[in-house]
């Protein structure tokens, strides 16, 4: 399951989707909005996506993970819009027979999402704002 959503991510339904009688391991990674970036206090984040391409780039990453590991299930959900401190920005969930594959695949997916998927994050501080990674 791959989705972009402007409403809060539901962990329970993601876990439900990952249920498999062959699964011995589930690794779930949650990216969360934290209250600071390099000690500068963050007020909120705004996520923007090129939806169609973001979904197809995530699909490529998931396909590549399926190619590298034997995955029994895989969920990627990314929030868009305004997110407050403590809110979940992204959920990656992977179910496998054995735990090493779950950890490796989950980590690969989040690392690669951060490199290739057209989603942009603006950090809004109390005294300004910045598009992350945009400036030299």
């Amino acid at each position: 399951m791959i989705a972009l959503t402007s409403t809060p991510i539901d962990v329970a339904s993601a876990l439900n989707y990952l249920q498999s009688s062959q699964a011995g391991a589930v690794d779930l990674f949650l990216g969360v909005v934290r209250d600071n970036t390099q000690n500068r206090p963050v007020d909120r984040l705004e996520y923007e996506a090129y939806d169609k391409m973001a979904l197809s780039e995530i699909q490529k990453i998931v396909d590549s993970a399926h190619h590298r590991w034997t995955l029994l299930g895989c969920v990627v959900i990314h929030r868009t819009g305004t997110l407050l401190i403590g809110e979940m920005a992204v959920l990656i969930g992977v179910a496998t027979a054995h735990r090493a594959d779950a950890f490796d695949a989950c980590r690969y997916i989040i690392d690669t999402i951060k490199q290739t998927v057209p989603i942009w994050k603006k950090e809004i501080f109390t005294d300004g704002e910045v598009w992350v990674n945009a400036h030299p």
Partner: protein
């Protein structure tokens, strides 16, 4: 024949131009690198972005890829999802 392409802008590119898309003249045999040159002339502020890729029909495009008026073209500033 003079045609043009509607180029989608996101994130900092949208903020710097104040527009979510811009019309760019598209001469015959225009390639991705030509489009970038044209856009940078039209909107010099975009030169301040660390890197700017181009997506054509939802796929990252190489600099020498030819463009047609039917293509969906987007500028991709450095991504920062997750």
């Amino acid at each position: 024949m003079n045609s043009s392409a509607n180029v989608l802008l996101f994130g900092i590119a949208r903020d710097l131009t104040g527009q979510s898309s811009v019309l760019v003249p598209l001469a015959p045999d225009t390639r991705v690198s030509d489009l970038l040159t044209t856009i940078h002339k039209q909107y010099p502020a975009l030169l301040g972005i660390q890197s700017l890729l181009v997506a054509v029909n939802g796929e990252y495009a190489e600099a020498d890829q030819p463009l047609t008026p039917q293509d969906e073209i987007a500028l991709i500033p450095p991504v920062s999802g997750g």
